[in-house]
């Protein structure tokens, strides 16, 4: 079995927000909910870097640990999914998640939380694959069609990578080695963050 992972290359991300837009469009995500976001550190200063972040599908996910109704589960591919029929919208996963991945649609007065929504690695949910219920609750199920998450697939600079952890880390390792050698060849003050 594969172990699915995202990786965002800080040297390549140009903060175009295409991943954010693609995700919203692909899954018809409502206003106010963003499964993915791009964060820029040191914007406009030396050393500015951007990273695209969503649910990182942790091996030992804090959201699953803290959920009072135990609605999370990990698929055979290592993707952390949740059951919206079980979720009660308490917000504990949002407090616990390091990446700020869980999102809550504002449902009623005083922004009372609706059921949690987050990145599914384009793998749908517990509903039957490609059913309308699944699409309505969790968005498109691309993984069952043999496709990887759309955000990474359409990244223009290939900063955002998705797929089996071994493959992803191999690609990234090669990038780092290439960058390392070219930095010395330039003879300048090249700084690498990889």
């Amino acid at each position: 079995m594969a172990r699915m992972k995202f990786y965002c290359d800080a040297e390549r991300c140009i903060e175009c927000n295409a991943c954010v837009t693609a995700c919203k469009n692909e899954h018809e995500i409502p206003w106010g909910v963003n499964r993915r976001r791009v964060v820029t550190i040191k914007d406009g200063e030396q050393g500015e870097r951007s990273l695209s972040v969503a649910c990182m599908h942790c091996s030992d996910a804090p959201c699953a640990t803290v959920c009072p109704v135990d609605c999370f589960y990990t698929t055979g591919d290592g993707i952390v999914l949740h059951d919206k029929d079980i979720c009660i919208g308490c917000g504990y996963c949002f407090y616990a998640c390091p990446f700020g991945a869980p999102q809550f649609p504002e449902e009623a007065a005083f922004a009372s939380r609706g059921k949690m929504d987050k990145c599914t690695f384009c793998a749908g949910g517990p509903e039957e694959d490609h059913s309308s219920d699944e699409y309505k609750k969790y968005g498109r199920n691309r993984l069952s069609e043999g496709k990887l998450p759309l955000c990474a697939e359409m990244c223009s600079t290939k900063a955002l990578l998705s797929g089996d952890a071994d493959v992803i880390s191999d690609i990234y390792r090669k990038r780092v080695i290439n960058r390392g050698s070219s930095a010395f060849n330039w003879g300048g003050n090249a700084k690498i963050t990889g």
């Binding site: 964060v39 009660i88 300048g188």
Partner: protein, 350 residues
């Protein structure tokens, strides 16, 4: 042999020691190339190791500029390992102690039995305030405990689907009735605060352990020191719970995860303390002490009960002739419930 191995060891270690002497950086690299790793700085910032720094994001939302919230996992661990475990054990332990106490000590009877002569203690309004707060408190305690302890205790019994419905109802009910707790708490503060101020003689109650240590009853006024302490615990911890609860219930004022996690911890610790002590209060007010429930049920208590548990107040009742004889009390009870209070207040005014 031994010396040879020692020499071998020294030989092996020496080159490493030599390396450790000088600074290893930039030795083998061509001049002019900085090998300073900016990555260290970037990832330190991302991981929030030294500072709580925030970037910017086109996605607008609470904390959306923070890449990694390092406190989240801390909060999750504290909730799972400490709060729910020790909270649950603590409440269960207090409950067990009280059951044990009841088995050993039994119900505390009134010396000389009930006289039938009554004295007015609480007005209708005061009793409504008490029971409103009590019912709201019990509802919030039960729904809150379902959310805190339901996953380990109830979920295996009911299964995920059924427990989810229960937990969802608990969450909605808790959020809906939470603000009512603050309202009834303020009503409680206004109507009972004056009589709960500490006064001379309260220390003797404490020294006698509230009557638990030694023989005889500990001295008390209208409220004894234990009741006063419980009252101020309810008011002060209750206010903390109410405020932290309001922070948690409406996430639309831009409060971040740090504040909400902290509020959750304060809210839960406060609630566990109040729930644990409330078990003792409920016990003493009902089966633990004969004649105690009458005061909150009817508004009147037996004069013998007053003398036994609140001797200083009982003395005042005797001196000011506030005692309603049994026949008079029976006549009062026969009348419409609404008029009993007026009679009593008229009598108190004498």
């Amino acid at each position: 042999m031994k010396i040879q191995t020692l020499l071998l060891l020294v030989g092996l270690l020496l080159p490493q020691l030599a390396l450790a002497d000088g600074p290893p950086e930039q030795k083998n690299f061509p001049q002019g190339v900085s090998t300073e790793r900016l990555g260290d700085e970037l990832w330190r910032e991302v991981r929030q190791r030294d500072m709580q720094s925030s970037g910017i994001s086109q996605v607008k939302g609470v904390d959306s500029g923070i890449l990694i919230n390092a406190r989240g996992d801390q909060w999750a661990r504290f909730r799972m390992d400490q709060l729910s475990t020790f909270g649950g054990i603590g409440i269960a332990a207090i409950f067990a102690i009280i059951v044990l106490f009841y088995v050993v000590r039994g119900r505390v009877p009134i010396e000389g039995g009930l006289s039938g002569n009554m004295v007015h203690r609480f007005t209708d309004y005061e009793r409504v305030v008490h029971w409103t707060l009590a019912i709201v408190f019990l509802f919030l305690a039960i729904t809150g405990l379902i959310l805190l302890l339901g996953r380990p205790l109830l979920l295996p019994l009911f299964g995920k689907e059924v427990f989810s419905i229960l937990a969802s109802a608990s969450k909605e009910g808790h959020n809906l009735f939470g603000p009512l707790f603050l309202v009834s708490l303020i009503m409680m503060l206004i109507s009972f605060a004056r009589r709960n101020l500490y006064e001379r003689g309260d220390m003797t109650w404490l020294l006698k352990g509230g009557g638990l240590i030694g023989d005889g009853h500990a001295s008390g006024g209208f409220f004894n020191m234990g009741e006063k302490t419980w009252y101020w615990m309810v008011i002060l911890i209750g206010l903390v719970i109410a405020i932290s609860g309001l922070i948690l219930v409406s996430p639309n004022f831009g409060q971040g995860r740090l504040i909400m996690g902290l509020s959750h911890v304060v809210h839960t610790i406060g609630a566990i303390i109040l729930i644990a002590v409330s078990i003792g209060h409920m016990y003493l007010g009902s089966i633990g002490s004969e004649g105690a429930l009458e005061g909150m049920k009817t508004g009147y208590v037996d004069i013998n009960w007053a003398d036994a548990h609140h001797d200083r107040w009982g003395k005042v009742c005797h001196e000011e002739n506030l005692i309603i004889p049994a026949e008079e009390y029976a006549r009062l009870q026969g009348q419409k419930p609404g008029s009993t209070d007026e009679m009593a207040t008229a009598e108190q005014g004498k």
